[in-house]
Amino acid sequence: MMDDDLRPDPDALLAALPAPRGKLKLFFGAAPGVGKTYAMLAEAQEKRAAGLDVVVGWVDTHGRAETEALLAGLDVLPRKQIAYRGKQVAEFDIDAVLARRPALVVVDELPHSNAPGSRHPKRWQDVDELLAAGIDVYSAMNVQHLDSLNDVVSGVTGVAVAETVPDHVFDRASEVRLVDLPPDDLLLRLAAGKVYLPEVAERAAGHFFRKGNLIALRELALRRLADRVDGQMRAQREVQSRAPVWATSLGVLLVLGHGDEDSAVRQAARLARALSAPWHAVWVDRGHAGAAARSSVLAALAQAAEQGAHTLVLAGPAPASLIADYARRHNLSLLALSQRGNRPRWFWRASLQQQLAQRAPELNCLILAAGERRPAATAGWRWPRAGAGGGGGWWQTTLASLALTAAMLPLRGVLDAANLVMLYLLLVLLAAVRYGRAPAAWAAVLSVALFDFFFVAPHWSFAVSDIQYLITFAVMLTVGLVAGQLVASQRQSAAQAGQREAHTRYLYEMARELGSALMPEQVGEITGRFLQASLNAQISLWLPDAEEQLEALPDTPLAVDAALVRWCFDHQQAAGQGTHTLPDAAQLYLPLQAPMRTRGVLVVAVPDVLALADPDNRRLCEAVAALAAQTLERLHYIEVAQQTLLSMESERLRHSLLAALSHDLRTPLTALSGNAETLLLALQRGGRAEQEQAALLLAQSQRITRLVTNLLEMARLQAGGVTLHQDWLPADEVIGTAIAALGNTLDAHPLQLDIDPACPMLYGDAILLERLLVNLLENAAKYSPAGSPIRISAAAEDGRILLRVADRGPGLPPGDPARLFDAFSRGERESAISGVGLGLAICRTIADVHGARLSAANRHDGGACFTLSLPLRPPPALDFDLENLP
């Protein structure tokens, strides 16, 4: 019985799968010299011996003879020379591998950083691209290069490692093979000079290759591998249990901005991974971070995003409440703070942790260990940007203080000193509101000095006789500073909120305008206008044409790297500034990804280099790109719909025209030939002499019929838009119907059929293929002497199915055989044999629409042979269970 349950259609499943990704096998070791490269090459040799296409993309043997010997017989690709600071640097050539498309490529030293100007900054990104292209990769790395273990290792060994590989690369590798060597053996190998070149080994041994270090590293490597295996087992269990997995409510929120950014990100990432929890990283921008600090925090945010965190910059004066709100909103129950963030800035203020404990007692707070290596990033404290006044307001506050003093001098005896102080305080407050923190502090200092000089006894001197005025000064100074700080923070958060609001508004308005766009040029213009308004950016929009060549829309003045545009389009990944691919480029390249396919590339150039590092701005660009992509897709489908409508209409017209023509020609021809035949039969029965004329009448009408049929057929085929009714056809059926259709035309020729029983089925239009064979056979019968055999064969050869019709006639006329297939060309001019020369032209057109080749050649022992070569397709599967039908 057929079971028509919900079994998924395997074809549909296969079609839904993306092209298979290559497999990465990592050779993982605890330290250099354990034999990773050797193991890797040995395995590559095995694969090569098994018949796999293996090439070596990059291997450094460090002069080790055993390892070098293993390169024998492997195809080693040349390295790419890159000019860097006047020197030639050899790098791994990823394009050479992509062009060569081997089954397996060996790329050693996964953590390597490429020279600037390479496609990717890191080699692991090269490897990622190779995997995406479906190429298997063997690569090697040591435990100290794993991103999350980087500081642990440098803590243990005291040697800082700059080149790291993100943990996801390690975790997603298809296979990790541990290349293990006990520390004693490794030290022996080192002493024997088998690790590194001798002079380097000397130096390295002192620092790194201490036995204690090696044991610790070995433990780390084993443990990390055990974690990986554990993770796989858990994943497997989840797959098997099929039970819905409840999202854990545990999430980690890392608060950045207190120094040790990098270390904090690593620790938080490690923590989140250990908990299998989602994690977020935020920074509260209070507006007083210097450019250096700012970019270091932004870099850390990018790093966090790379490690799988959601990142955001918050703005506001009260970090604690912002953080608490964010954590609640995103259901993150574990806050991670660095130690510095936990220390109160001033003794009277609660630390961030204490504030958080007050505001959100339900949140767990984790204080991260301080990193050892890197300097605190908060060093660059700076005055906040001045407000609307631009120039800073120093002069204005100075003048205002002097003017106030001058105005009050005559009132010295009239007003109380306390009230005079109030007036100065008012001035300080106004300065804070108007010009920000620094001018306010300046106003406070100046006011204190002026007040002291002019109004505090003894007058005209800075000396203070009454100690209580010191309190006045202190209050004035404090009010000035605090007010300035508050106002500045407020202004900063207002600016940021304003910017976000503006972004939202821009996106909203852009979406509305794009909604009415009808041309790709309009999309480019609207996108450009909005990014100009929001980020002061210039853009260039690149769209694929019918041949998938990318073309920039006109009117974009940007100088753009066309190769990078192509790369971005092909890989559907952002490239250029602020990304992993050519981060030194001057622009950001965003693929326009729509639901169905990538619709083009948006290139954004922003004058301020830091602007694109801000996650907010980057998100804005991505949102704009998404909107543009959707609009382009909509435009594409509008065009498709219009074209379909148009071609349907013209198809219908053509069809009805040809049908009418066919009907109008065939009806009188039918009457003519039918009545001629009737006449002939009657005359034959009467034995009349006129039967000869009647027979001529019949033959001529049949000839006209053939001509008309050929002409109509040619018109139908050449008008284009022939709908093929393709089907799976056994070769003997196609040949058999053609022979049957010819009736007694072939009577004069013995037929030799040679149909290979193993010949697979053809995929084609039964009627057109029959027509093709009929024409070829008719041709063979026409041009070869009566009694000569015609041979028809069918067989599969070299991935194609070949149908041959061979005769024993005079062979092809001299000249190019391809010319035979041109319409109205005949073997011989003014030949005595009838036909308009359309037959072979029809054959070729039919072959063309099937994606087949039709060729003619002379047989070496006389006669002509026409060959139809059809592409071989895998035949459809048959369900032989059907035999058990009731």
């Binding site: 039918t670 039969l681 059926e733 459809p876 059907l882 035999e883 039908l885």
Partner: protein, 229 residues
């Protein structure tokens, strides 16, 4: 025994003329009609033994006439079509026509088709008696025992091969479209899988025909279907 009657529904007088004489040669009493409406009336009153129908008529489509006719009559119908498009022929066959001829056609061809249909109608399809049916001189099908033999030797047919053969035998002489055969043999879920039909037909030909590429009985109607002669 009264004379057999034939009805020609065709708007072109010149064609009617020679079709008429061809049928009269076969011994038919011939009536003519030139429109769908007239044709239906004639078919109802004359009760013809065979009907020759042109598909393009001035007041309507021959297929609609067929659909109407088939609701009350089983008269064998040969369709004449000036259209080369197989879709029209398939539509006519699916609507109940028994055979078709593409214009222009020969008189001998028309007469042979009419004879074949008449033979089937009079019940002696094949030259056998009872449950035995013969295909040519070599193949015998025993419908009662569901067995087939060739040159006296029993032939093994799979269930589906036999069902396909039996279906063709039941409509011997008639053109069966791919769709009709797939529906009858494989079931309604398979009407789009015509490669099944082609493969099983090739198997049948291998077993029954002397030269499978030039079959005598299991004829291919290219792009339309099959017919057992």
């Amino acid at each position: 025994m009264h004379a057999l009657t034939a009805l020609i529904i065709e708007d072109e007088a010149a064609i009617r003329r020679f079709v008429r004489s061809a049928l009269e040669d076969e011994g038919y009493r011939v009536f003519e009609a030139d429109t769908v409406a007239r044709g239906l009336i004639e078919a109802g009153t004359r009760k013809p033994d065979v009907l020759v129908l042109d598909l393009g008529l001035p007041d309507g489509d021959g297929v609609s006439l067929l659909l109407d006719l088939r609701s009350w009559s089983k008269v064998p119908v040969i369709v004449l079509s000036a259209r080369v498009d197989e879709v029209d022929k398939i539509a006519a066959l699916d609507a109940g026509a028994d055979d078709y001829l593409t214009k222009p056609f020969g008189i001998g061809e028309l007469q042979a088709r009419v004879r074949a249909l008449q033979r089937r109608r009079s019940g002696d399809a094949g030259e056998g008696n009872g449950s035995l049916v013969r295909l040519g001189d070599t193949v015998t099908v025993d419908l009662a025992n569901r067995s087939v033999s060739r040159d006296g030797e029993p032939l093994h047919l799979t269930q589906l091969e036999y069902r396909l053969l039996a279906t063709l035998l039941a409509h011997r002489g008639k053109v069966l479209t791919h769709r009709q055969l797939l529906q009858e043999v494989w079931g309604p879920g398979y009407v789009e899988h015509s490669h099944y039909l082609r493969i099983y037909m090739a198997h049948l030909r291998q077993k029954l025909e002397a030269d499978p590429a030039q079959p005598r009985f299991l004829r291919t109607e290219t792009g339309v279907g099959y017919r057992l002669l």
